[in-house]
Amino acid sequence: MSQALFSLRGVVKRFDQREALNLERLDLEAGVITVVEGPNGAGKTTLLSILALITPPDQGRLFFDGQDLPNSGSQLTAWRRQITLVAQQAYLFDTSVEKNVAYGLRLRGLERAQREDRVGEALAQVGLAEFGPRRAKRLSGGEMQRVALARALVLRPRALLLDEPFANLDPASALVFERVLGELSGQGCTVVLVSHALEQAHRVAQRVVYLRGGRLAPDAGQGPSA
C-alpha cells in the first residue's frame, strides 16, 4: 500500500452541538481514487470540507503528506494550494469560462501565455475547448460542473476532492468525469469523491470508505470494490 497523503487522527467536527464527524483514524493513500459512501447526514461533505482545509476540525489532527497541518494561519493557503475541491453545485464566478478556469492560476502568479495554454488544455480535457469566451452563468448545469472540473484540473493539484460529481449530470458530462478520473489516477493524483451514484462511483473507485452518523462504518477502509 502506498503512503497516506491524508491522515486524520481523532478528528471531530460539531455543528450546533451536533456531532457531524468523529473519525478516530483514517488514512487516504496517495494516488488512489477513494470513494466515500454513506447516507445523507453521514458527514461526507464535512469530511471533504476538512480535507480541503476550508472547515477546521474542532478536535484532532490532520496530516497532509506526513505534515501536521495548522487549523489557521498564513501557511494554510500554501497547503490549500495543493488540494482542490469541486463542490456538488460548484459556484462559477460571474465572468467568462476562461477567466473562471484561469482564476487559480492568476492567484499563483502564472504569466498570461502560460495561463492561456493551461486553460486551453483543461477545457479540452473536459470537452469544452470552444467554451472559453462564453459567459459562465449562461451554461447548462452539466457544462458548469465540467467548467468547475477544468478549473480544478488546471491547477494540477496533488489531491482532488469531488462532492457528488455525478449528481445532476447529463450522461455525456458523467462520461467526461469518469474518463478524467481514470486519467488522473494514472497520473498519480489522489482523488477523494463523495457520491450517491454508486454504480458510476464504483466503476472508478480503487477504495471505498463507508461513513454512518459521522463515523467510519465497521466495513470502512475495505479494499477496492471494483
Binding site: 480541503a52 493557503t77 490549500r80 482542490t84 463542490a87 460548484a90 459556484y91 482564476y103
Partner: protein, 230 residues
Amino acid sequence: MDFFLGGLTRGLGLLINLDPEVYGIAWLSLRVSLSAVILAALAAVPLGLVIGQKEFLGKRFLVVVFNTLLALPTVVVGLVVYGLLSYHGPLGGMGILYTPWAMVAAQAVLAFPLITALVIAAVITLDNRVGPTALTLGATPMQAAWAVLKEARFAVLAALAAGFGRVITEVGAAIMVGGNIRHYTRTFTTAIALETSKGEFAQGMALGFFLLVVALAVNLASHQLQARWK
C-alpha cells in the same frame, strides 16, 4: 406652471451659456460629494464586507444600527461635525471649518452608514459559496474577500451611487460646516436655499435643474461602468 417653465428655461440657459459662477458651484459640488463618497467608501465597503460575511454575536443589532443611521438627519450631522471642527471643538486645531474640507467630512459621515448598510445587504444576499470557492482555488482570505466584492460589484456600485445621491442633494450639513461662502463653499443645494430665501425661485429652480443634470451624468457614468463589467 410659468414658474416651473421659467426655471427650466433659465436652467438650460445656465447650462448652455457656461455661466462661470454656476459652473464653479457645479465643480465644487462634484468635488466635495465625490471626495466624501470615496472617503466614506474606503471605510464602509470593507466594513460592510466583514459584517456581511462574518457571523458574530451582535451582528443583527449592528445591522439594525446601520439601518437606523440611514435616517440620520443632515442637520444633526452638520451640528456634530460643526462641534468637532469649531474653534473650541476637539478638532478645532485643524482649522477647516467653513472650508470645502469640512463639507467633505460632514458628507462622508452622512454617506458612511448608507454605503455600509447597502454593502452589508449586498454581501448577505450574495451566494455564500463565493468565498469558500475562492479559498479552495488557492486564494488567501484577503483574495477571497476581494472575490466576494467582485461578485457583488453591481450592488456595491449601486451603493456608491446611492451614497453620492444622498450627499450631493443634502443641504443642512453643507450650510452648517461650509457656511455657503460665495466662490468658496457654495454648492448647488446651499445656493438653491439662498436663492429661494431671496425670493429668486426661478434661479433656484434653474440650479435644481442643473443639479439633476449633474446627478444624471454621474449615474450614467456609473451605469456605463456596470455595463462594461458585465
